[in-house]
């Protein structure tokens, strides 16, 4: 999966969980939390969704690494390549 496909997959998952997200308006480098309301249940649902579509298991301790679009894409890239 290319970085831009992965980015799209992440944004789709975000919109699935929080349809109020406006992917085009999101600054990829700014914290998501400063741009929209996401609570811990949303984050949990986002991780579950990412697992469904990518098969990537995000452990609780890594949740902070999904705090912005860029960070999340980099993290998922790493997780996918580690899986091989």
């Amino acid at each position: 999966m290319t970085p831009s496909e992965l980015r799209q997959t992440f944004l789709d998952a975000l919109v699935h969980v929080a349809p109020d997200a406006e992917p085009d308006a999101l600054d990829p480098d700014a914290p998501l939390r400063d741009q929209m309301d996401l609570d811990s249940m949303d984050l949990l649902n986002l991780v579950i969704r990412l697992n469904e579509v990518l098969g990537v298991e995000v452990p609780e301790r890594d949740y902070p690494r999904l705090d912005s679009v860029s960070h999340a894409v980099a993290y998922l890239e790493g997780a996918l390549s580690a899986r091989g």
């Binding site: 929080a18 109020d20 939390r33 309301d37 609570d39 811990s40 249940m41 649902n45 609780e60 902070p64």
Partner: protein, 579 residues
């Protein structure tokens, strides 16, 4: 025989070592006499929380703020007095009068705590709104509360308040934190006002029955309810924190609740301060690793948290607690929804301590029922009434409510008159009256009491949803959904959830011409989240072609819930009449 977790001898004598004796010796006059009281008479929460210790222990840390960026900011009692006296001076300068409502909409930042106590010092009424609310819950609550002043951050103002400002006629002053040169039109800089203010010399001469705190909660129907509490509540804030949370003066205490909810004020601000105890305030969002690190690094001794957070910690596994030193923890308590026995047992394994469930409501203002530090724990029990509090289980006998025998289920009722009892639902006298029957406050919770006097939670008597410990009124959610042109009708219930206890689920009949498809689902979810915020908006939407209704036209949420759970629907004709 119920399961019992036996405790070893305590490290420190509990603040309530002998329950039976404390009950026998209890008097409200004694409880009152333990407060300082205003010079010249009267009672003021801020005076008890701030001035009292600013005189006796000025350099002691009242709040240790763990800021989002990782910085640590200590606020001493002397600093807190200076800040709150300045904030009161700001209100004075703006012409804010006793009883006027001052709202706050902010995360757990120092300014929020200063505003809360400064407002009380001034004699005005403080109301904090959860920062994750969307514009609609903010507007409704500020309208009911007729807020004259709002303290918030520039980002929250721009996103959530500016769009509704023209519909808040009572709102005169918006005070923004942060850079004084970055305040949009129609707002004032709190930073600059605090710098320029003349600190007020003394706390306002409030009396026990003067209004102090406003907290919103949700009912089954109608608008949110503004529960009003008086300065006299401090008698119980102090004593219940001391007893139920086993607070000792040398403790380091961490209440994880946000001041946007009642726990974050009664036990995140007033309870610890009036006991002279240092509090940790974590600005960041929930994160298991950081939370364990805080418990370890800040040497937390007493921790008050919530079942949803505990369940998320349980999910995060045992490696995290094993990697930190939690040996300083002495007492762990929980509130928000009934704590399941599994979580109580998990506490023993992960924290080395069982977790003490406590029970109370926005209306009760403080903890009334608790598992006590000095007693063994029966996992799953609510606990027992604190000394001074009388509870009954009332069962319906025809038209009357009568005390039920031990073991029988009924509505939990509390003998009215304890000092932190709510004094009104703002502008809704009839609704307030309906909460009382004879001399009892009816809690709306169903419970039973066993032969040993322990109370056990059974369920809610109404349709209010408990999601992550926050009460959500189904009507508020239904109303928001039905304002979307894609929804013709909506019925909202709490769907059982392993983490949040319940999540908000909506059943929606699409408007004529709209297909019940994914696009409409996403549109409705987005609309509801934007208006209500994630804590209130539905997390699940199911399209239906009809909604069960009573003859008078109310949605039969109980029937929706029974269907959701696959339970027998019962005799629907009875249900219709029971509306």
């Amino acid at each position: 025989m119920d399961e019992v977790i036996r405790k070893g001898p305590p490290e420190l004598t509990p603040t309530l070592p002998d329950y039976a004796r404390a009950c026998a010796d209890f008097s409200w006059d004694t409880a009152r006499a333990e407060l300082a009281g205003l010079p010249g008479g009267g009672l003021n929460i801020a005076f008890e929380a701030v001035d009292r210790y600013a005189t006796s222990a000025p350099e002691r840390v009242a709040f240790r703020f763990l800021r989002r960026g990782g910085e640590v900011e200590d606020l001493t009692w002397a600093g807190l007095r200076e800040g709150t006296a300045r904030f009161a001076g700001v209100l004075e300068g703006l012409g804010v009068r006793p009883g006027d409502r001052v709202f706050a909409l902010a995360g757990r930042i120092p300014e929020l705590y200063v505003a809360a106590l400064g407002t009380l010092r001034h004699g005005a009424v403080f109301c904090s709104l959860f920062a994750a609310f969307g514009p609609e819950p903010i507007r409704t609550r500020m309208e009911i509360g007729a807020g004259r002043v709002l303290v918030t951050t520039p980002a929250l103002y721009t996103r959530k308040v500016a769009p509704i400002r023209d519909r808040l006629p009572a709102l005169e002053f918006v005070l923004l934190t942060g850079d004084p040169n970055a305040c949009p039109e129609g707002t004032l800089s709190l930073t600059r006002l605090l710098e320029e203010a003349t600190p007020t010399k003394e706390a306002a001469q409030t009396r026990e029955d003067d209004p102090a705190l406003l907290h919103f909660t949700s009912g089954t129907t109608g608008k949110p309810k503004g529960a009003l509490h008086a300065h006299g509540a401090v008698i119980w804030h102090r004593l219940s924190a001391r007893w139920a949370l086993d607070l000792h003066p040398e403790d380091v205490y961490w209440c994880t609740a946000d001041p946007g909810w009642v726990t974050g004020v009664s036990y995140g601000i007033v309870g610890p301060l009036t006991n002279g105890v240092t509090s940790i305030v974590d600005e960041g969002e929930f994160n298991p690793e950081r939370w364990y690190r805080i418990l370890d690094e800040q040497r937390v001794t007493v921790w008050y948290t919530a079942p949803t957070a505990l369940r998320l910690l349980i999910r995060a596994g045992m490696d995290l607690p094993r990697a930190v030193d939690l040996s300083r923890l002495r007492h762990v308590a929980s509130v928000g929804e009934p704590l399941n026995p599994h979580a109580v047992r998990w506490g023993v394994e992960a924290l080395g301590l069982p977790i003490h469930d406590t029970w109370w409501q926005t209306e009760t203002g403080g903890i009334l029922i608790a598992n006590l530090a000095a007693e063994d724990i029966h996992p799953g029990a609510m606990g027992r009434t604190l000394p001074g509090i009388e509870a009954a289980i009332l069962a319906r006998r025809g038209d009357a409510l009568e005390p039920a025998p031990p073991g029988e289920e009924g509505e939990l009722a509390i003998r009215a008159g304890w000092p932190s009892m709510f004094r009104a639902y703002l502008n809704e006298e009839a609704r307030y009256r309906r909460c009382f029957k004879d001399s009892w406050y009816l809690t709306g919770d169903l419970a039973r009491r066993d032969a040993d006097g322990l109370l056990w939670f059974v369920g809610r008597a109404d349709d209010v949803i408990n999601s992550s410990g926050h009460l959500v009124g189904p009507f508020e959610v239904e109303s928001a959904l039905m304002e979307h042109p894609g929804a013709a009708e909506a019925g909202v219930i709490g769907k059982p959830d392993p983490v949040a206890m319940e999540v908000v689920k909506a059943f929606v009949i699409p408007a004529a011409g709209r297909a019940p498809d994914e696009a409409l689902r996403a549109e409705l979810m987005a609309y509801a989240r934007k208006r209500l915020g994630p804590a209130v908006a539905p997390r699940e939407i199911e399209f239906v072609t009809t909604l069960p209704r009573t003859r008078s036209g109310k949605v039969l949420r109980r029937l929706l819930k029974a269907r959701e759970l696959g339970l027998p629907e019962g005799d629907t004709s009875t249900l219709e009449e029971a509306s």
